[in-house]
Symmetry: C2
Subunit: 145 residues, 2 copies
């Protein structure tokens, strides 16, 4: 699915810039990828966050718990675009050090819905999650692809 037309190349570049912004904890540059009315299904509660201010607050809160740079790697990225609509998905490796000193290292799943608005691709929907064990209700954070 990951062909290389112009739209997909543009989206890939935005994803790479976002990933670089996360690594250096540049919240303003991260949020530049999102549309004002973004609907986010984040890895942590609530069920959804609606609007860029609410979603920015979630990212700000999470970044505030961490120290130092963040490792962020996408695996098996697929992008599917036509006209002014696209979606993308990937497996995501995130490793970071909490202020408590604990090192976190997880694999998550990431899906995004995109619209091209005034010539620029923006994320209008994002879904990030870990799978959960049906028996225990616990999130599985140590799965490796």
């Amino acid at each position: 699915m990951a062909t290389c037309d112009q739209n997909e190349a543009e989206i890939r570049a935005i994803i790479e810039r976002w990933s670089e912004a996360l690594r250096v904890r540049d919240l303003d540059r991260m949020m530049a990828s999102y549309e004002t009315c973004v609907v986010a299904f984040d890895a942590t509660p609530p069920l959804q966050r609606v609007g860029i201010d609410d979603y920015r607050e979630a990212w700000r809160g999470w970044l505030a718990t961490l120290e130092g740079p963040i490792d962020h790697e996408l695996r098996e990225l697929a992008i599917c675009a036509a006209g002014a609509v696209a979606f993308s998905h990937a497996l995501v490796h995130i490793a970071a050090t909490q202020k408590s000193g604990r090192r976190g290292d997880v694999w998550l799943r990431w899906t995004a819905g995109w619209r091209k608005l005034d010539g620029a691709w923006l994320v209008v929907h994002e879904h990030v999650s870990a799978p959960l064990e049906r028996e225990t209700g616990r999130a599985v954070l140590d799965a490796r692809p």
Copy 2:
């Protein structure tokens, strides 16, 4: 975002048929919505399932743990389509009775990526999840929208 062009009406109708098929546990009709190479980020492990046979097995295994009809309701469904690519997302309420007699009742988040192939919309990517509490690593299944 939920405008009513022809593509979005077609996708909405497929979602309604899929939901009806789930309610009566008709696995064949459920699987008719998916493309052969679907990449699924399911609510439970593994991280991803690739291909319709693998994904069908996941649904079959889950349905086999249940008895009787399944309640399935979508809330805040949004569909965004252009040309032959679309994505959709919604909050999903699922209630069902396990063979053990226990009644399950959860809200999940659902995102789908669609392609129009030979004139018919098919799901090529699906992402279903519950949010997880960062402190405990437990899935939050009782959140209400």
